[in-house]
């Protein structure tokens, strides 16, 4: 008869390292890169890789948390351009393309984060309170939010930016760009928060079985709403970093990022069905994509052909996880 002893531990031990499955891939990429191009392994190039990925990595952090909680947010990419654009227009004079309200320039970052939080809150309202489908709501919001950038700016690029919004994306702290420090600290907070704090664990509970989470006394609606607001805020911060790095806000800032964000999260082991994956895994996903991007660019592969490679990476990662995990995917 069935014994009551659970399956012996080897599987469990393996499962603990599941979020590190991409580490060998990263090592291989480092070796391949070094062989292909001598400049690849220089600290300058690697710093460059990290800095380029800093902004998008914040989106991956946000999306990973939302996916783990069993929801979805496509609108993050539009917030990356729209939040800083609107914040900047609130403070710069009308002559530079702003609203001419004359608000102090130091307010631009708080305003930007506030706009991001408001978008997240509105998403949360529709999805949680109004119980609409997260996919469709955020798809609509992706379009609307981008339109809210195009409308006021008339599709023009904003060049005359206050110094405060440029600082974070361009400053260097202790020899590394500030954006790397910021992304690093936030990821560390995310990893710890989701592994060692009740609020973080509640995301897994909600994504794994929402009724069980409710029965366990987790305030499901409040937590989910909080995750959407946090996601919007992180997207706005990503916008600040990207603005500082480029020195201007183009009308297509952030456009198309969401595919890379999902790719990074999914190859990093975050499940689209919710309840599975870690922030560390998502981080390794970002690094893989960043390194591949860098190697392709160094080797002079045309930017027009790069999407084929990224798409292929996602498929290969899915196939590997299907073989390793053994379970059919939905």
């Amino acid at each position: 008869m069935t014994t009551l002893t659970a399956s012996p531990s080897p599987r469990v031990r393996l499962a603990r390292f599941r979020d590190l499955t991409l580490v060998p891939v990263i090592l291989i990429l480092l070796v391949v890169g070094a062989v292909l191009d001598p400049t690849f392994l220089t600290s300058g190039n690697l710093t460059n890789v990290l800095q380029q990925q800093a902004a998008i990595s914040l989106l991956v952090l946000a999306e990973a948390m939302i996916l783990i909680a069993g929801k979805f947010d496509l609108s993050l990419e539009s917030t990356v351009g729209m939040a800083p654009a609107i914040a900047v227009m609130l403070v710069i004079p009308a002559s530079a393309g702003g609203f001419g309200l004359g608000l102090p320039g130091g307010l631009v970052i708080p305003l930007c984060l506030l706009v991001g939080a408001a978008i997240g809150a509105f998403n949360g309202f529709l999805i949680i309170k109004f119980q609409l489908s997260a996919f469709i709501v955020t798809l609509a919001m992706l379009i609307i939010v981008h339109g809210l950038q195009l409308g006021p700016t008339q599709g023009k690029t904003l060049f005359e930016l206050p110094d405060s919004i440029l600082y974070l994306g361009s400053a260097v702290w202790l020899g590394l760009p500030a954006s790397i420090w910021i992304a690093g600290v936030l990821f560390a907070a995310g990893i710890a928060g989701l592994a060692y704090f009740r609020i973080g664990r509640s995301l897994y509970a909600i994504g794994g079985n929402i009724d069980a989470a409710r029965a366990a006394g987790i305030r499901v609606d409040r937590v989910l709403w909080g995750v959407f607001i946090l996601g919007g805020t992180l997207a706005a911060l990503a916008g600040v970093l990207e603005t500082g790095r480029l020195g201007a806000i183009g009308s297509n800032q952030g456009v198309g990022w969401i595919f890379m964000v999902f790719a990074a999260a999914v190859i990093g082991g975050v499940s689209m069905d919710g309840g599975k994956g870690t922030i560390l895994g998502a981080l390794t996903g970002v690094l893989v994509i960043g390194l591949v991007q860098n190697i392709l660019t160094l080797k002079g592969v045309s930017g027009f052909w790069q999407p084929v490679v990224y798409g292929a990476i996602i498929l290969v990662a899915l196939i590997i996880s299907r073989i390793a995990g053994g379970k059919a995917q939905d």
Binding site: M1, T2, T3, L4, T5, A6, S7, P8, S9, R11, V12, A15, A195, Y196, F197, R198, R201, S202, Y204, A205, G207, G208, N209, D211, A212, A213, A215, A216, G217, I218, S271, G275, K276
Partner: protein, 492 residues
């Protein structure tokens, strides 16, 4: 007399439906109290009110004579009442340890995983549950998961525990182990409310029983001296005779045969023949391979060796359409999973196998589909608003009847039904068994797989499986004891 738990004149409405209409229940301290009733009698609603998941519209709930705590105070509720719900409240992707301490991993601040695992191990040891706390909950068996849920429920310090159909998905020995556990909890003074469709379990484990019918309280009596027939009458509201299986003589023609069937890890070298006008039972524990064998007969599984013949036609192994074409109808084990498409109508679900015959050139004629469905609804006495109602809206028993309709729609000459009466009430159960016998009287041959010994009484003979082999062919007239002994491998 002082009651440990009491609900008085509880009224609960959901829109126009009255789920509970002035229902009451009183459970004495230390007893195991059964709550029985047909589907829709209001049992589940009472559970959610007694556990504080929903407020009652009227009436009150008392714990040890004190009014129940406020609905928002989940912790206070959990100190008074624990519940193992019908639907699992385990989170599969998390470890057992974390599931046990969900949302209370720490008093605040950082979670110390090592300490959490130690606490989990201690908790499981207290209740003698032998499960690795580091295993993922999704990897546990149904029984283990349930034990983890019971341990978790009790860990809040409640002395009252509700078990909502805990045996529905357990096999015989696991049910016995659960009962042993329940008895020892009772000895420790734990009060229990036990919900089940299996009345024999009520007689075995409970001291008193409350019957609900049509959202009302009907009767509460000690189990001892409550005749089985009267209990069924109280549930159905009419005098119902116990199911009488009919006598018949099997024909000569073999309608379904398996020869030399083997599937690694499931069953080995099984031969079986079913004649027209014969019901053959398949019995055995969960690990006996009986479900795997039945699923092979219908083509859901592909055997490693052996052949399946339906109506004299050798069907392609592991191919459901070819078995259906040869004249087979089947009722799968899990109706929610394989039985019906919840959003589609009764008519559409019931006629899926004959869709090709309802019109020409791949079209489906709605009027013919409807006509066939109306006839089936009538034959099987399906309680529905009409053939257009989505099956997902029906009660468990009626949804199962739709699955039967699908199996019977093409007048199959061979019928395979797996656990047909799981989670359905007394009357629906009789109707379903009657449907099997009707089909057999029309000349079909049937294989009936069931964990419920009562179901197997309709069989002309029962093949008992043990560890993947058919060990005995038992003719009609067996006693429970005889059959169970063979199923457990105690005697042959």
């Amino acid at each position: 007399m002082k009651y440990h738990v009491e609900a008085r004149n509880v009224v609960k409405r959901f829109g126009p439906t009255v789920a509970l209409n002035g229902a009451s229940i009183a459970i004495a301290e230390g007893e195991t109290h059964a709550l029985v009733g047909r589907n829709g009698a209001g049992k589940s609603t009472l559970v959610s009110i007694l556990t504080g998941l929903q407020p009652a519209d009227e009436g009150e709930v008392l714990f040890a004579g004190e009014p129940a705590p406020a609905l928002a105070d989940r912790d206070a509720w959990r100190r008074r009442v624990a519940c193992v719900y019908q639907k699992s409240t385990i989170i599969p992707a998390l470890t057992v340890a974390e599931n046990l301490f969900l949302n209370r991993q720490t008093e605040g601040g950082v979670i110390r995983w090592r300490a959490l695992r130690a606490r989990a191990r201690e908790l499981l040891d207290t209740y003698e549950v032998d499960v690795d706390v580091q295993a993922l909950a999704g990897d546990l068996s149904v029984e283990q998961r349930q034990l983890v849920e019971i341990a978790r429920a009790l860990s809040f310090g409640a002395r009252f525990i509700i078990l909502d159909e805990p045996t529905a998905r357990l096999d015989g020995p696991a049910i016995e182990r659960l009962f042993t556990r329940m008895r020892s909890l009772r000895e420790q003074g734990v009060t229990m409310m036990y919900i089940s469709h299996h009345l024999d379990e009520v007689y075995e484990i409970c001291q008193s029983v409350t019957v609900f019918r049509d959202a009302r309280h009907i009767v509460t009596r000690p189990v001892a001296g409550f005749p089985h027939g009267e209990l069924v009458d109280a549930m159905t509201g009419e005098a119902t005779a116990a199911y009488q299986s009919r006598a018949r003589t099997p024909g000569e023609r073999v309608v379904l045969a398996g020869e030399g069937l083997s599937l690694a890890g499931r069953y080995r070298e099984v031969d079986l023949t079913v004649r027209s006008g014969e019901v053959v039972g398949l019995a055995g524990s969960a690990s006996s391979g009986k479900v795997g064998l039945a699923e092979t007969l219908v083509g859901l599984r592909r055997p490693d060796a052996g052949t399946v013949t339906v109506n004299g036609v050798r069907v392609r192994p592991g191919d459901v359409p070819s078995a259906l074409r040869a004249g087979l109808g089947f009722v799968p084990e899990d109706r929610h999973h394989e039985g019906f498409v919840p959003l589609l109508s009764v008519a559409e679900n019931a006629t899926i196998p004959i869709a090709g015959k309802l019109g020409r050139f791949g079209t489906v004629s709605p009027s013919r589909q409807r006509a066939r469905a109306v006839q089936l609804i009538d034959d099987l006495d399906i309680k529905t608003e009409g053939p257009g109602q989505p099956v997902g809206d029906l009660s468990g028993g009626n949804a199962q009847k739709v699955v039967f309709a699908r199996a019977l729609v093409d007048d199959p000459s061979a019928l395979v039904v797996i656990n047909p009466t799981a989670g359905v009430d007394v009357k629906a159960k009789q109707a379903l068994l009657g449907a099997v016998e009707d089909a057999v009287e029309r000349g079909a041959g049937a294989v009936l797989v069931s964990d419920d010994l009562d179901d197997l009484r309709v069989c002309d003979r029962v093949l008992v499986m043990f560890h993947g082999r058919v060990v005995k062919d038992v003719p009609r007239g067996w006693t429970d004891h005889e059959l169970v002994a063979v199923m457990e491998g105690i005697e042959q």
